[in-house]
Symmetry: C2
Subunit: 381 residues, 2 copies
Amino acid sequence: MPNELPSIYPLGIVGSGQIARMIHSAAVKLGITPRLMAEDSGDSAALAAPGASFRHPDALASFAELCEVVTFEHERIDLGMLEHMEAGGQIIRPGAKALRAALDKMHQRRFLTHRGYDFAPYADLRGPDDLLDFAKMFGFPAVIKSVRSGGQAERGAWVVDNQNDALRVMAEQADRELFIEQFQPIVKELVVVVARRPGGNARCYPVAEVTNADGACREVRAPAAIGSKVATEAMEKARQIARELDAVGVIAVEFFLTTSGLIVNEVAARPHNAGHHTLENAPTSQFENHVRAILDLPLGPTHALAKASVTVNVIGGYEEVDPADHLHEALAVEGASVHLYGKRPRSGRKLGHVTALGDDMEQARELARRTEAALMNRRFQ
Amino acid sequence: MPNELPSIYPLGIVGSGQIARMIHSAAVKLGITPRLMAEDSGDSAALAAPGASFRHPDALASFAELCEVVTFEHERIDLGMLEHMEAGGQIIRPGAKALRAALDKMHQRRFLTHRGYDFAPYADLRGPDDLLDFAKMFGFPAVIKSVRSGGQAERGAWVVDNQNDALRVMAEQADRELFIEQFQPIVKELVVVVARRPGGNARCYPVAEVTNADGACREVRAPAAIGSKVATEAMEKARQIARELDAVGVIAVEFFLTTSGLIVNEVAARPHNAGHHTLENAPTSQFENHVRAILDLPLGPTHALAKASVTVNVIGGYEEVDPADHLHEALAVEGASVHLYGKRPRSGRKLGHVTALGDDMEQARELARRTEAALMNRRFQ
């Protein structure tokens, strides 16, 4: 006798990109039949998972009705609708409170500053007056940021060196709500991925260190080359923030390690690029622990399996090289793990990632970078 | 701009079960958009992958037309149609020659015996006369086997202790083609999984050791506790057999280690239960190397990551306990990796597997068995 299709799906995943795609895979591994809601049948996630495509504004509510638990890969959500759904008994993960904080970076800052977490000095940026006031107090360089998170896909921060720079960015981003932040003397950018269950039980992955370029995460190294005191502080703060936000599922807390200590940069309410290495480098990946957490199942171990791990993102360039066309050359570079997302190449778009594990960070880095260069048909120096 | 659905899929996967499901996941990881052909939309593979369900006899040919390369998770195939398709230019993996050998165990024996590989003495079993002739020569116990492979799902071997036993099995299996084989004084059952590319480039995974019960694989330990001479011989023979069969993709060669040496038991032309541990225990899983091999991409490393690995199959019992109902208890057993296939419980059906890695085989075994017991709601002794 064949199986029957479930009438109610235990898990609904809302998203079109690689995060949704990898959450889906993790659920499947555990024998869970998730339902996907993407935007288009050709989306990265929809290419890999049986899913429905919706564009209608009411689609989310009718999708959610089919699912016991609904989770999101991004933060481009109508929060009002979400809160309405939650009030009606729908289980939303990581929860409206965490999603609101992830979605609105000013809300995030106010909420967490109020509870004693350090951020760089920040202010609303609604017009030239706000800019002048802020510059008077904190000078340049500064960082202009979008209040609404664009999720993984969109650039949301611009470093500005002077008033003209700032006015140009404000003009270019006139349709977005912006705020401004003091530029920090950043020693390192660190990320802690935390998985947290409804009852509060939580586990952290080791602190990862990221290198950004052009506003996008380029490289992730784990463990971060930091002292154990900073590592403990980062993990402890990440756990606390997850608790403050009543987060259920995986959240990622991005920190700046500055010359004067650790400050919070950003909280993302989803599995994070800096946790992709856990697919190879942990007994339980961030995606599997996300699924476990949101379904209130026991979390799995989060320790690193290798001494050194480097993930390099595969990001589309202006030439629109398609890494899928160079899989052969990349796989010929022995030893790294290649992940491609099935996306069309476009400049700045995350098309995949490569993770190399090893005993030595520089060796792992060379292997990951060599593999990424092969995918992008670039000579490796 | 959204992606478009491909007009031709690079990879078509024919199958309804966990092997198809896991091949699909491996392809997705590499950014490949496979097309699945299952039997029913509620099948294990179809629950996890966007797929088409077909029952019409012509369905395979029209499915194959949409795919550059077609692969199979099982051997329940119309070989004539396959050879016709291959003759027409369709790329079939692992290829009609390998599939014919996997499908027809008498053909497999004749083909490989002729080329110098040792099997247990065997004979056709078309009626009582064949039985008497065989018994006169080799006595009892003997093993009656089905000529046609049932793939992973069906029992295909029965040990018989005397003539009455044998006649009973023959009567019960009257609708199947059977053969009889001398019972072997088996010291160990070993399996070598080989991935082979079209040009002949091949890689072996370490030799695994399996324990069967009730005609089904219960436990897989890797590496097998055998001397390096036997291990080398098994891997060398498996490679040679893959070459003899012009196999492209993953094939598995099952051996019996008897008191008088290594003999071939069976060749399966697909990823194998004894290779499931490679999902956690190798840099490249057997599923990913299968995908790489059939698409003629460079193979990945196959060495073991852990000193000891134990996989325990989760097999349905008479009580029809559903392991999905006990995921909570199983995941609470810290450290093993749980895979469930989304299948309805039924006695004798493979519903999932659990792999535990470690430094010590007995520790890994206890962990895997404890987790499996939790899934089946059984007290663990």
